[in-house]
Amino acid sequence: MKSTRLGKYHHLTIVIKYGVCALLLILSILPFWILIVNATRSTEQIQQGFSMVPSIYMGYNYDILTSKGFNIIRGFSNSLSISVSVTFLCLYFSALTAYGLVIYDFKGRKFIFALIAFILMVPAQISFIGFYQMVLRVGLTDNYIPLIFPAIASPATVFFLRQYLLATFPKDLVAAARIDGANEMKTFHRIAMPILKPALATMGIFTFVGSWNNFLTPLMLISTQEKYTLPMLVQLLKADIYRTELGGIYLGVTMTIIPLLIIYLILSKYIIAGVALGGVKE
């Protein structure tokens, strides 16, 4: 008797729980679905009413969008070249720093690590006035250099890689490599880097996405439209010339998010695992 009542109660709670999750699922997908559907509909159709079914005007919207100077291909390649460089610099130099902090017992090591842990709590944006003035004085505004090279010092990535090395890297390997005659750089490249690979992959995804999505820094520094990154290009869609071209706006936004959606769907397993490890939340 008691067990059947408990059974019924269980069924009801399970139904409620799945119901809530289904609602949130719809909430996550629906805005993107409306966006993609409207990218294929003409402005008249969009104004007439709401629809969940795609239409056939994508090519037409694309012509309107590009005829008004929305150069998505250039924005895409600008963002790609910045993000790839940032990711490479960030991963290589963070690995170097983390390895140095873990393997060598030098003076000041503890201080450097404490500094890294502290800087994680400081909001990055508080320094952007000083950063802009510095860049202005050395004449590097409207240049990608100040967008790329600061990635050499990425405290969050160093922090993550250090924890990873401490947990997985047998220090005896370094002594063994030295006996075999390997120099210190070679040991780092041939032994530490392969062991770090899973951690580098995780941090690589987040660094790439973070750089790709960065809006404020390029907004502050880049002024020539040919050099605009993708997020900067998106803001042009709010300009007056697109006011009457709803289909074009939807298509423009769609094209900026599709690459990320594809990357996400392929790598979601690693991304979710990375988020669960923490330390990557901004």
Partner: protein, 318 residues
Amino acid sequence: MNQENNVGVLRIKKTSKRMGKAKYSKYGYFFVAPFIIAFILFQLYPIIYTFVLSFTDLAGWETKLDFVGVKNYVAIVKNSHFIRALQNTWIIWVINFVPQIAIALMLAKWFTDTRIKLKGAGLFKTTFYMPNIITAASVAILFYTLFSYPVGPVNQILMKLNVLAEPFDFFRSKTGTRLIVAFIQFWMWYGSTFIVISAGILGINPSLFEAARIDGASSWQIFKKITLPLLRPITLYVLITSLVGGMQMFDIPFLLTNGAPDFAVETLTMYIYKQAFTGNRNFYVAATASIVLLVIVLLISLVIFKFMNRHNKEGVNK
């Protein structure tokens, strides 16, 4: 004779080993040098420079500046626009964070409950996290179009469902716009918080739950008496990172309405940006506001850490 020799060899080996360690440790500097140089150049120097600029009158396109003492700090605490931006940032952050942490805790509890096994955790986590990966700039334009007046999809749906008799102009309502910004922040971040908290719960020793269950505790009691207290460090980590991020809120409100209507969603970072890069380019005001923001964030983090330590100690004493 022989024995003496052996001792000698041993001694040489020992000293060479010690010397070897000292010889190698200097390589540490080479490994961390690029980081330190880049760190000083691109992070430490800009922070110090921002701090210095907050005591000057630097404005416009000029490079000439005079030191004015603490005048800027006296002015900014009386500046109603700055105070308004500070209030807006807090209001929007609180109305996004409270439901975010509540729903994340609820979902994490459901998906880690071993008695009622919910299927599809992977699918739900993947979908709930998805909005987080998308460019905030694109998300802002997306929601701007979804809520647009009079024929945006949200107005169309609400009228079809007879919730609204006529279209509502969301971006002319202060409350409406604030709620939309807070909703977008919530929508982008609750999945991430859910995943982090789930990982925290899965890291708790399962035998604790088993013991409680054998003692006849209900799943709510277990959640309240075991899960929540043990989750405190993770929850505080989420709180601090969300707070630091929330105080820097910029992309969404900037691209959604640029602060309108009536500056309802003008955040601190937007205020700093506008002071420095529009109008008279008042860098001295922007620098002062940045330093005040830094002090606020550090003070709050410190208070939270103190609070956490006190509670941890109490937990141990019990």
